[in-house]
Every structure is written in C-alpha cells, then in structure tokens.
Amino acid sequence: MKIRSLLRNLISVKRADDDLDLEVQSHLAMLIDDNLHAGMPPKDAERAARIELGGVTQVKEQVREARLGNWLRSLITEWGYCFRQLRRSPGLTSAAILTLALGIGATTTIFSLVYGILLRPLPYPEPDRIMAIFELSSKDRPTRLADPNFDDFRDQNQSFQAIAKYSVGIATVSGTSQPVRAVVASVSPGFLSVFGTRPVLGRDFSPEDSRQGAEPTALVSYGYWSHVLGSPRDLSQSRLRIGRDAYSVIGVLPAAFQFPTDADLWIPADLEGANPSRTSHNYNAVGRLRAGVTVAQANQDISAIARRIHAASGGGGNYLLKDGRVLPLRDSITGKARPALLILLGAVAFLFLVACANVANLMLTQVSVRGRELAIRSALGASRARLTRQFLNEATLLALAGGGLGYVGALAGVKELVMLAPPGLPRLDSVAVNVPVLLFAFLLSLIVAGGLGAFIAARATSSGVRERLADGGRGQAGSQGSQKIGRIIVVSQIAITSVLMVGAGLFGRSLLKVLDVNPGFRVDRIVAMDVSLPPAESPESKAEQAIFFSRLIDGLRQIPGVRNVGATSGLPMTGGLPDGMFLRMNQNEAPASMDALAPLFRQKARAESADFCAATDGYFKVLGIPLLRGRLFDERDGANSPHAAVISESLARESWPHQDPIGHTIEFGNMDGDLRLLTIVGIVGDIRENGPDLPPNPTVYVNLFQRPRAAVSIAMLSDADTRSVSAAARSILKRMNPEIPPRIQTFSQVYSALLGSRKFNVILTGFFGITALLLATTGVFGVMAYSVSRRTQEFGVRVALGAVTGNLLRLVLGLGLRTVFIGVAIGIAGSLALTRVAESLLFGVTATDALTFCGVTFMLVASAMLACYIPARRATRVDPVVALRHE
C-alpha cells in the first residue's frame, strides 16, 4: 500500500493536489456553513472559519510535507530549479562543462593506462601468488637462471607449490600451409600449474614428455590453433616441424593465456639435455607460492639456497650468482614502466587541478552576480542548508555532465594513447576503458562536485545577508573579497602550470639530446632481414650453414641499388648481444675441452668480459662502423685458418691499456661451443647498441663464416626504394630455400621504436603543459576582466580626478603582473623541488636546467601579459561620466 501511495504521490502530482485543494476548500465551506447556522453574520462567519482553519495554503503545505516521498519530490524540484538556473547562462555553463570534461577526461585516460598496466591483476587464478624468481649477479642485478641453479631452487625450496623455468626464442615452424616465424617458449614441466591453467583441448606435458630424448611434443596457443592449424578438433594428426625435429601437438591453451607474451608454441625445455654450466643464464623462472607463505619468506628461502651455491663453488668469478630474489610477477613485468607512468599520472592530476580552478573561478563570478537573489531568498526563509544544497546541486549537475562528456572523450583518448604507446610498454593489451575506469571517472566527478559546491556555497553564504541588501545590489564589499579569492586561484593555477611546463620542457630537451648522440653506426638506408635456419650440430651441417649464408649474401649483392650486404648474429637495438667472460691465452694454449676452461676462469689476470657477436666484413661496411687499426675479416680467414676476431675500441682500451691487442689470442668458446682460439686482427669503433642513451659495451666480433650459426640478421645498404629491395630480397631467399620465412624491416624503424618511450613522455607532458597554459591564461584573463568590470566606478573617479591612459594601464597591468609573478615564483620553487622525482628519466639535462626554467618563465609571463592587456585597455576606455553613474 505504501509503495502504491509513494508512486501515486510522485506521478499523479497534479491530481492529488487538486483533490487536496477541493477537500480543504470544502472543509472551509462547511466551517462557514456551521458558523452561519449558529447565527453569525456572513462576513464574521467567513473570518472565523478562516481563522479556525488556519489558512488554506498552510494546511495544504502541511499535508504535502507529511506525504510519503516528499523528500524525493523536493529533491526533484530543486534539481529542476538548478537545471533552469544553469540554462539561463548557457555560455558559462558550457564553458564549465567543457573545462570539466577536459580535466576529467584526460585524468580518466591516463588512469586507464595506469590501471591496466600497474594495478589490474594478471588474468590467472590468484595472480598475486605467482612470483618471478631471479639470480642476483655479483653487481646485485637480477639476472636469469642457469640450469643447475634452477634445479637446486626447484628441489630445495619450501615456499613454492609449483615452480618452472622458461625461455623464449623465434623459430621457423613448418608443417602447415606455409612456414611461419613463430615465438616458441621452452618450458619445464609444471609451467602450466604455476599459472593455474589447463589446456582447453588435449593435455598438458607429462614428466615423460620432458625427459631428455623423449618424443618431441608441443602445446599451441589458441590463436595459433585457430588461425594457422585451422581449429582441428582431433590433434592426433597435427605435427609441426621446428628446426630439424617433428613435434606432435598434444594440447591447445585457452585464448586468455598469453605467457610469455605473444608465445605461439610451448615445447619441453630439456629434450636435448640440460646445460650443466652454472654461469650460463639461459632461463627465466616463475613459481606459485604455497598457501600461507609470504613473499618475504620465499625471498629468504631462495636467497639461502643461492648463497649456499655461491659458497659451495668457492668464489666462482663474476658470472656466478651471488644471491637470489623473488618478486611478484606483475611487479617484475611492469616495474620499469612504473616511474614514468606515475609521473604522467601526476602531470595529468596537475592539469585536472588547473581545469577545476578555472571552473571554480567561473562559478565565483556567478556568486557575485546572484548575490542579491541569494539575499532575498535568505530573507524569505531559506535556510543556509537549503542555499548550500542549491550550490551543491548545481556543482553536481555540472560535474556529472562534465564527467560524462569526459568519459566519452576518454574512450577515444585511450584508443589514441594505445596506438601512440611505445612498443616496449608492458601489458598494453590489458588497457581498456572498463568498469574500474568508469567508477574512477564517476568518483572523480563526485569529488569535483563536492569540493566545488562546498567552496562556492561557503563563499556565497558567508557574508552577511544584510550587507548585501544594504549595498543595493552593487555589492562592492563582497566583490572585493571575490576578486582576492579569484586572484589566489589564478596564482595557484599559474604555479601548477609552470611545474607542468618545466616537466615537459625537461623531457623535450632530453629527447633532443638523445637524438643528438652519434650512435656510432648508420641508421638510414638500411634494410634488415632476419633469417632462421634449422639448428646444426655436426661440423658438416655447420659448414653448410656458412655456405648458405655466403651464397645468400652474394645473391643479395646483385639486387640493383644495393651497395653492400653484411650479416650479424645481433643487430644493434634489437635486444642486446649475449655477454660472457673470455680468457687471454698464449698461442699454443688451446684448451682441450669445456671443462678445462673452468679453472682458467678463476685466474683473475686472464678473465675479462665482453659482448659476443658473429659478423661478416660486410656488416661493418654496411653499418658504417669505422676500422681504426688492423684489418677486417677477409679471404685469409678460411675454414682451416686461425679464427679471426675484431674487437671494439673500448675493449682494446680497457683490456690492453698500453699494448697493441692485435696479434693477441683469446678464448671465447664458452659462448658458441667452438673452442678454437681467436686471434685479434683489427680494432673497430664503438657502437651504442642498446640505444643512444646508454654507454657502448666492449665487444668481440668473430667471423660468421668461421663460426656460423642458425639465426642471422642480414643488413643491406641500398640507395633504391626499400620496398623493391625487400621484395627482391624475399624472392631471392625463397628461391634458395622456400621453407624459411624472413622478417624484413627498415633499420630506421627499429631505431625510432627505441626512442618510443621518450617521445611518448614528451608528447603527453607537452600536451598537458600547453593545455594547462591555455587554461591558466584564460583564467588570468577572466579574473582580470572581472576585476576591471567591478572597478569601473573607481576608474571613472580616477579619470575625473585627472588620471591618464598610462596611469590606468599601469594600474591594471601592474596588478595582473604582480599576480602572475607570484604564481611563477611559487611554480619555479615547486618545480625545483619536484623535478627531482623525474631525474631517472632525463638525459643530458639536470633537473634544474636553467634554459628550461628561463624558457618556461618567459612563456608564462608573456601569455599572462597578453591576457591582462585586453582588460587593461578596456579600463582605459571608461567614460568617467558613464562610470560615475554605473550601478
């Protein structure tokens, strides 16, 4: 019954009101009748009846107040009133809504980035129990694990209910319609248990599948199964060839499972047996914590095992682990991106504050204009709570409208951001405008509504009602206070904007400095082609590899427009070369076996470390790496000649300080299994292979034809158009071996991808900085214009008393500039303190770079002066006669 009444009260309001009116009128009529009946004269009868009734309107109002759902009715009425109020000043309302939309939209966009990457849990059951396990090197850096160390961790730990190792590589996979380059992960048994995942079709690896010499089996990703294999329900016929072996597909993993990122196939890790070396860091490791075990406990556990290994080896040199570390998997994936993302979030928060400040100022001007209306309403009996509620309602309507618009903007913004994002950004696929992001936008709107509403309400209801009425509506006293608050808001806007602009400026200058650095090699006009042959074990098959590449290079040289062709085991900026320890040897000291190396490594005088690269002589010419002394590889370095090596300049300087390394011999066979000594024949220039902002690594280059390998990157220097060169290269390779799909890109693409994250930071902070500058300038303009309009009378008096244009200009401009200078001063001080946070992201500039600070100050003062100029001119045009009469 109650609900029915409630609905009736809300919906058929008019009918209920009419009914009530009739009832009260009839009651009055009956009272009059009674009085007449009792003998009163008509006029007295009516008067007495009305007194007894107590007033028709009052009675009706009392009934209405007692009605069910009355609070809802008054809320709806209030909101309707607010809506009409806002509609009355469409310019102001739309300006406020658009500004709020900008602030909330930008913040929501960045938040969705932060949430998707840093906060969102990984898509596995109980994802916070999955850990990444590392070795700590002698330099305390987390590194991958060596096989025997992993085995010890696996067998001796007490913290993990499942633990597995994995490594990732690219291989040519054939056996389907066409051979493809696929991402192949080698995993130990138990890998899927760590993630709590089971295949959706088929089965997981069994312990037998993972033993050395077992029949090769493979798991495929859902995407690979549907796109490449054609979604067969019966897997018994599915066989793939990876390298030289045939793998039977035994299971398909769920579509949501993507670990390691982009993996297409998973194969057992140790089919060829494990690597017994404790210093070959080949694998990453993950584990799932046992119930009740904390991360700290697991850390101690693994650390103890690692230190035991270290102690047992008795020293072991630089490459043996010193300690172990356990990290939550999500943090290990996203850790490097965290500082930049948080800085971006901070920057957009500043933009948000500037936008809100503008809206606050807009609404403040409204308060002064409506001062009289508020005074009258107050006098008519509106409580302070009621008036406050009105401002809160207005602020809420504006905030929700702005928030809604901002959310829609964020939908587009996130899409743009994901496209713009640097390729190295982890977990980009989990960035989306989803429910948590929506909640964030909504909460943000509510916070804005509450803050803005409370602030405006406090201002509006603070000064006495009587003051306002007495002012006759001019409200000079009130407006002075408003002007001051307006200026305070502008000062904070300018301060915040300057911090933002300094940040953007520092990032921008860092990017320019990075672009300036000479990487040591050529970047343009180079086409890179990655080719993966099947792996070779015997010396004969290795020789075949060498011949294949030699013929391929000769064939590629024939392409019209190609000037030179070279090959390497690792191009710069594509992930880094493997590094290891090499030994200085005498010419006749060739070690007989791998085991003979171990004691040699312990002799500190012999052991040095460097990056290892296999390359052809053409490689140096194509990349423009200068030969500084000696010679490059040539025909003298045949299959039966001494193996030649070329070293980088920094290696020569560090390891042979006052000698000529040419002619010396070294042993570096621990990297590729070939124990023949290397004779140094030449020295080449350093290259910054990990990017212009990192120092060059000392490198040893061996002759690719003497020490061939299966996966090679071919670099072609050409003047011709890249597309024709790529097409020609592809067809030449296809003619030589159709089973090998190459990957072709231009080298400059690779290079600019490397700078991707710097560019990303610059674009975003630049956008925030410029937008904040525009908003702040508008804010300054608004406040100055308002101030001038309020002081017209004063200016009129001044002119009448003899002031000239110059005086007035100076007066207004002076006030404006004073405001701006205070803001800039606070902002610069704030920047000096805050930019320290971003120091790790800068390059070539300090956090207190003078040029940036001066530039920002100049830009802010210039725009502010521009903004003050127009109101100042308006002040000088005041006609004193009009002004003195101005009310």
Binding site: M1, K2, S5, L6, N9, D19, L20, L22, E23, V24, S26, H27, A29, M30, L31, D33, D34, E52, L53, G54, Q58, V59, Q62, V63, E65, A66, R67, L68
Partner: protein, 85 residues
Amino acid sequence: MHGLGISRRIQQITGGTFIVQPGSLFPALHRMEENGWISSFWGESETNRRAKYYRLSKAGRKQLEVETDRWSRISLAIARALDAT
C-alpha cells in the same frame, strides 16, 4: 465521516480535551490513507456540499486493535506505577 465531522466528533466525545485543528487533522488523515488504514471517497454532506468521506478499512481495523491493545498496556502500566509510589 468527513474530515470536519471527525474533528467535531472527537471534540464532542472527549468533552473538549482533544481539539484537532485542521493543520493536524489533514496530515494525519492523509498519512493513515497512505498506510492503507482508511479509504476515502467523495460524497454529499448534510448541507448538500461535496465533502471527502473516510472509512476504516480491514487493515485499519486490525491496526486499531493493535493500537488499542498497546494503549491498554501503557495505561495499565502507568496506573500500576502510580499506585506503587
């Protein structure tokens, strides 16, 4: 009975102790109607005027019993308390 009639009747029965003003009567009547304890209909008064009449409903009768019961318990308790002192 219509509103005025109810108010007069209460005044009469309680010997003038309870004078229900229209400002209290009408809100009370409307609230009871919302709760479903009384129902209303338009009719003609003694003086041939249209007036709104109220009638006790079944739910209202039950509520009356509940309230009566409560009132008896309260007045009994007060009487006993006064007796004891």
